[in-house]
Amino acid sequence: MKPVSAEEAVAMIPNGASIMVGGFMGVGTPERLLDELVRQKKSGLSLISNDAAVPGKGVGKLFDGGQVTNMIGTHIGLNPKAQQQMLGKQITVDLIPQGTFVERIRAGGCGLGGVLTPTGVGTLVEGGKQRIDVNGKSYLLETALRADFALVHAFLADYVGNLSYALTARNFNPVMAMAADTVIVTAEHIVPVGVIAPDHVVTPGPLVDYLIANG
């Protein structure tokens, strides 16, 4: 783990990169990194995020300035700007079931080619996918999902990058921290090693490439 500033971290993300961003309706989202993505005017981003939050909050900020080209997520209904951009065909949005979304990312981080899920069988979601029967039950083959960068928000980070999370701000963060080539983390508190007991570490330090240092 290397401590860096938000400015330095975001400077590493090229235009057109794929980014996974933790958070659920903006809760548990690394806001400082999103603010910096806006400030550095990164464009053509492929966003992998559960939802589009709301304008001005979380990943919603990226839609305000038209920085997203395509998105994979589960729900964009509370962000009118993302909806408009999708319906106006300025962006493409691949909407998938939330359980499938998280399992595809988990597969991507765990070295699996994909997962078999019953969710979506016999619905629009099945389109173009392989149906596989196992022990008499039908499943869809959903392939693994990875990104160039994962932008993760933790509650506590220690000096070696061990992370723990708080309440409902955990959501997709620990899963995404395993599924990207480069993992960049913001934390509410940076604490000495030992403050997070080994049993309470959720994301082990070696998974973290960069931790945003206190400014």
Partner: protein, 216 residues
Amino acid sequence: MDAQTIIARRVAQELRSGNLVNLGIGIPTLVANYVPAGLNVFFQSENGLIGTGPIPEQGMAHPLLTDAGGRPISALPGAATFDSAMSFGLIRGGHVDITVLGGLQVDAGGHLANWMIPGKMVPGMGGAMDLVTGAKRVIVAMQHAAKGKSKIVAECNLPLTSARPVDLVVTDMAVIAFPGGKATLLETAPGLKVAEVLAVTEAELAIPDRVPEMKL
């Protein structure tokens, strides 16, 4: 009693002590207000919490403790938090006893459509498809008709949420189940006759010999 209250109170009667329950947004959320006293029910919020409590008092909200819509909630004693893989493992894995969801249409075979109106409303399915596919019991809580048009239809013309039929539909006019895959009228709302329900129901309903009124 208004339509939403009728629905929420009737659905609450389906809950049993020890149940793990997931409530969708809209009318389903109101069910939590009518849990019978002394019943110990665990409510799951799919953003990562079992043990959701009421909206906190003024000044007591925590920005990292919210429901799936991002609104502040509280956590009850015995609550547990977890990541989204665990949350949907619980849902898809059959560990959730009951899910209560809103609906746009339910058809005569019990199929639910509740996540999109092509060309008009395309918000995304969020967790709905996993909930209908994986929960042990699926209850739909919705108005019987919208703008005079029956939401209990012969066949859904909106995209299905799951191929798996739901177990129970509770509306402001009726309780409907699907024994043997056939929509069957179990109860009517207080003061409503069977014929009045049938008059605003597009789907064909089987009518048992005795159809009691809901006891609210």
